[in-house]
């Protein structure tokens, strides 16, 4: 065997754990990831898991990144190969010069290895069998032992891990001790037998700061609590279930009336998505803030109600944690593939407001914002997150709330206003923004009641199938949609350091990888202005951005270039000025992928260097 080169890196590498689902590895791996944060080193972990509870392969990728690159980098520097089922593929995935850590209790033939990677063996099973009687303990503590060994090899601060274990098992002494012992076992072994086994090292840094570590689903749920949602109806579907569960958790802590013990919230796990969106529609119609969380298949089932809510002008907030394809397929993989389906959801001429958060912080902000927008615009509003943001803990800016902020309940005509003789036409455009007034049911004994139905009505909600009434209504809805541009979050521009003739449009979870890719491209001499779209309908800034570049890349995590479709279809942008870069294998888009794709296209386009004075 020839000796492999060694990747040498400090605070900047990718470790991937290959485990078996349900083996207790998840909590151990999470503990490992968090230890870096406590050492001041940013880390970005990702779960790659099957649609299964026990026994199938699952991976956990930890990107250690002193620079704070939170996207998926691509490549693996150290594989912790704990799953014989996936051994071959896992070994193959390690970068040349990288490391393979495995349980060498049972010897494996040389054919099972590669000679361009460094193999680090540790008799994990043997150690466990010698230490523990109970098979379950053998399995569980094996995970902590390897965490200890890795911490030893990487030169991590063991006190930090012990501290985290202490927090986790606070008040559960019976569990605390053996966990600490297991950690120590691993550390000791590494110190004695695996000194300098890895070229990957860690040292304390100061780049975590005030940031918090949370998954997007929890963040969005908290945003719904802060935004004043009182009704949540949902039907379990990965990757959105943990959002409703987090809402339940936060409400139980934050929304129980102290004096009476009564709940200022109602959560219904409905019988299906038709019912969950129906409940949300009913609550919105009746003046409560309500939301549902779902994923693609749920959106499909909700179509009819989405149309009703659009035409009947009912505030509805829908959080779509996007995933790949149908229920058998890639339900536990990430994608941005519900963009067009949500933008045009339902029958008839419909268009909806979409928000695209980039990380948990924006999940929090936009969830609260969505509730305001839904009330203001009296329409369905979609918060478009995805599995990558939703189900992975991410380092993110701390949440902020301005206590002077007031909920925007939109145009609601009160009993006093009706009493004062203000004209009420439920579907009348009184302010020129396309948004009519509504009344809550039960407002006034003889003014302001109306009968809600789809579109067959005149501006005063009187039944009408007259063409002009229908058209008036449809035009007003269009005006309202257009007005939404002035309310939704504006796009964010990241200008390049040098004048650029190319632009990039991206959105949502692509963000961290994009920023890393842009930096890398700049060091290659490829300068690109980047615009992160945060909402649909599109504002003028987006047209101007496209118009001011020769070509604009549109980077998306779907096959059909869905955002580009909206740019062309809805915003009338010339498709010839857009180039799609698409990633849709179910894994989160990586910086390396973006960098490679863009660099190739740019060189194929044969870029002439442009003069500095001709700023883009």
């Amino acid at each position: 065997m020839k000796t492999a080169t060694r990747i040498e890196a400090v605070n900047d590498f990718v470790i991937k754990f290959a485990n078996v689902n349900g083996s207790g590895s998840a909590s151990a791996n999470e503990l490992f990831a968090k230890a870096f944060l406590r050492m001041g080193i940013p880390v970005s972990p990702r779960n790659i898991f099957p649609s299964n509870i026990q026994g199938l392969p699952t991976w956990y990728e930890v990107r250690v990144t002193e620079q704070g690159h939170l996207g998926r980098r691509g490549g693996v520097d150290l594989m912790v190969a704990m799953n014989p089922q996936t051994w071959n593929a896992d070994v193959k995935e390690v970068d040349a010069g990288g490391y393979l850590f495995y349980d060498n209790t049972k010897p494996l033939p040389p054919s099972k290895f590669r000679d361009d990677i460094n193999v680090v063996g540790m008799p994990l099973t043997e150690i466990c069998n010698a230490t523990y009687e109970n098979p379950r303990e053998r399995q569980l503590f094996k995970n902590i032992i390897y965490v200890g060994a890795l911490a030893g090899m990487l030169g991590m601060e063991p006190e930090v891990i012990a501290e985290l274990i202490g927090e986790q098992y606070k008040g559960k002494e019976k569990l605390l001790k053996p966990n600490l012992n297991a950690l120590q076992l691993g550390l000791n072994y590494a110190r004695e037998h695996l000194k300098d086994a890895l070229g990957l090292k860690t040292k304390r840094a100061y780049n975590v700061g005030e940031k918090i570590f949370i998954d997007g689903n929890s963040a969005a749920a908290l945003g719904c609590v802060y935004g004043g949602a009182t009704v949540c109806a949902w039907y379990p579907i990965t990757p959105s279930s943990s959002l409703a569960e987090a809402f339940t958790f936060y409400c139980s802590k934050l929304r129980v009336d102290k004096a009476t013990g009564k709940q200022k919230y109602a959560i219904v796990q409905a019988e299906d998505e038709l019912a969950s969106i129906g409940i949300v529609t009913g609550a919105g119609w009746n003046g409560a803030r309500a939301f549902t969380a779902t994923s693609g298949p749920g959106i499909s089932l909700m179509q009819e109600f989405i149309g009703l809510a659009y035409f009947a002008e009912i505030p509805v907030t829908i959080i779509d944690v996007q995933r790949g394809g149908p229920s058998t397929g890639m339900p536990t993989r990430t994608q941005q593939s519900d963009v067009t389906t949500c933008a045009y959801a339902s029958h008839g001429d419909t268009k909806h407001v979409l928000l695209f958060p980039e990380d948990p912080n924006e999940c929090f902000q936009f969830a609260a914002e969505a509730l305001d927008l839904a009330d203001r615009l009296q329409t369905p509003v979609f918060l478009m997150t995805d599995l990558d943001i939703g189900m992975n803990q991410r380092l993110t800016a701390p949440f902020k709330w301005d206590d002077s902020r007031r909920y925007d309940r939109g145009k609601v005509m009160t009993a006093e206003m009706l009493e004062a003789g203000k004209e009420f036409g439920r579907y009348l455009d009184v302010d020129g923004d396309g948004i009519p007034f509504r009344t809550y049911p039960g407002t006034h004994p003889n003014k302001g009641a109306y009968f809600t139905r789809g579109t067959s009505r005149n501006p005063y909600a009187v039944y009408s199938e007259a063409g002009p009434d229908y058209q008036y209504n449809m035009q007003r809805l269009l005006k309202k949609h257009d007005f939404a541009k002035t309310l939704v979050p504006k796009p964010v521009l990241t200008p390049s350091k040098e004048p650029a003739r190319f632009g990039i449009i991206y959105y949502g979870s692509t963000s961290p990888s994009m920023h890393e890719a842009l930096e890398a491209l700049a060091t290659q001499g490829v300068f690109i202005n980047a615009l992160r779209i945060r909402a649909f309908p599109f504002q003028d800034e987006i047209f101007d951005f496209v118009a001011s570049h020769t070509k604009v890349f549109v980077v998306e995590q779907n096959r059909d270039a869905q955002l580009k479709t909206l740019l062309v279809n809805d915003a009338g942008i010339n498709p010839a000025s857009l180039i799609s870069v698409l990633h849709y294998d179910g894994t989160p888009i990586t910086a390396r992928f973006i960098q490679k794709e863009i660099a190739e296209i740019v060189s194929a386009l044969n870029v002439r260097p442009i003069k500095k004075d001709k700023a883009a």
């Binding site: 944060l37 975590v208 005030e210 918090i212 949370i214 609590v225 802060y226 004043g228 009182t230 009704v231 109806a233 934050l254 929304r255 009336d257 009476t260 013990g261 009564k262 709940q263 200022k264 109602a266 959560i267 219904v268 409905a270 019988e271 038709l274 019912a275 969106i277 129906g278 409940i279 949300v280 529609t281 009913g282 609550a283 919105g284 119609w285 009746n286 409560a288 309500a290 009819e304 109600f305 009703l308 701390p398 949440f399 709330w401 206590d403 007031r406 909920y407 809550y440 049911p441 039960g442 407002t443 006034h444 004994p445 003889n446 009641a449 109306y450 009968f451 809600t452 139905r453 789809g454």
Partner: protein, 351 residues
């Protein structure tokens, strides 16, 4: 139609309820249903019940699905907000509305297609959840609005207007409601206002899921060969021109029979409906007995009417969820937003 008489002039001699409202104050728009449609009789019974209960019309929220039956909320309680939702999904919308404001009275109106066919799932689940509402199913055994197809409550072996025979078993909605945990279950007939009005009143007063299946003949589509002579003529006419272009004007069927009695009601299609009214001493708190009675009546070809079951200690969804007493739609930042200091604490716990 003619049933809910118009000009909206208030006759000075019209009786008033405690709120000073006459029955006219509980009316709505002019019905657009076929003359004689049982659904209009039900609307009239609803108007009577709300008037008698001295309920302020605007404190009622009327929800419905889609169908002729579901159109009716526009024809009563004109000062109430109404919501004509989507086919078969009224229960979920009503549930959400009820959660948003527990202080209103919720009336759900549906058809047999709406509740037993497309909406069977929501029908079952809204009963399970014990949503505080009065759920009226206007049961005619057909899809009226889409012109006469069978619904899931159509009797096995019955014949549709176009001649096809229904081969599927009928769903008995009262049995299903009982099974699903409805805490008030009744059956009545659209033309029996002496029975229907008190049942509606009791259902409104009930604090939980109250269900009334109201048999409500469709004058237009429950017709088939072998019906009355005049009808035969119309059927032949429609067949000859190969379209349904002539509608007979019919009288709504009314009945009046006493507790414990049986009455045979000839319907527009010529078939006979056999109604049996529960005895005055019937104990509606015995759920198992209720199911047994329904089943044994069915064997005899009879339809049992009256209050079949009521749970005296019923609880509703708000009780199950332990929700706050104040209507959610009146709560603002003060009650709902935990504020920035709490958020700082949450942030600290995430580091």
């Amino acid at each position: 139609m003619t049933f809910l008489a118009k000009p909206k002039l208030h006759h000075p001699t019209l009786p008033k309820n405690k709120l000073g409202f006459t029955r006219r104050d509980y009316e709505g728009k002019v019905s657009t249903l076929c003359a004689g449609c049982g659904h209009d009789s039900i609307s009239a019974a609803l108007i009577q019940a709300f008037w008698e209960l001295d309920i302020q019309p605007h404190r009622v929220a009327k929800m419905s699905g889609i169908g002729c039956s579901s159109k009716t909320p526009d024809y009563f309680l004109g000062q109430s907000h109404g919501f004509n939702t989507v086919h078969g999904r009224m229960p979920s919308v009503l549930t959400g509305a009820n959660l948003a404001n527990r202080d209103l009275i919720y009336l759900g109106v549906s058809g047999d297609g709406d509740s037993a066919s497309i909406g069977l799932g929501q029908f079952a689940h809204v009963m399970r959840r014990g949503v505080n509402m009065t759920y009226i199913l206007e049961n005619n055994g057909v899809y009226g609005l889409t012109k006469g197809q069978f619904s899931a409550t159509a009797d096995k072996g019955s014949k549709a207007k176009k001649g096809s025979i229904n081969a599927d078993s009928a769903i008995d909605t009262v049995s299903l409601a009982l099974l699903m945990g409805a805490t008030f279950v009744a059956r009545s007939f659209s033309g029996d206002k002496h029975q229907l009005v008190p049942l509606v009143k009791a259902a409104i007063a009930h604090q939980g899921a109250a269900f009334i299946d109201v048999i409500s003949p469709c004058v237009a589509f429950n017709n088939h060969a072998g019906s009355t002579k005049s009808y035969e003529y119309i059927r032949e006419h429609n067949e000859a021109v190969n379209r349904l272009d002539f509608w007979p004007t019919r009288e709504a069927i009314t009945v009046d029979y006493s507790a414990g009695g049986v009455i045979e009601v000839p319907t527009h299609d010529g078939s006979i409906l056999k109604l049996r009214k529960l005895h005055e001493d019937y104990d509606p708190s015995d759920k198992i007995n209720a199911s047994a009675m329904i089943a044994s009546a069915a064997v005899k070809g009879e339809v049992l009417t009256g209050l079949l079951y009521v749970a005296p200690d019923a609880e509703d969804l708000h009780a199950h969820l332990n929700t706050y007493e104040t209507a959610f739609n009146t709560l603002g930042e003060k009650e709902l937003c935990p504020g920035s200091a709490m958020l700082e604490k949450i942030n600290a716990g995430l580091r």
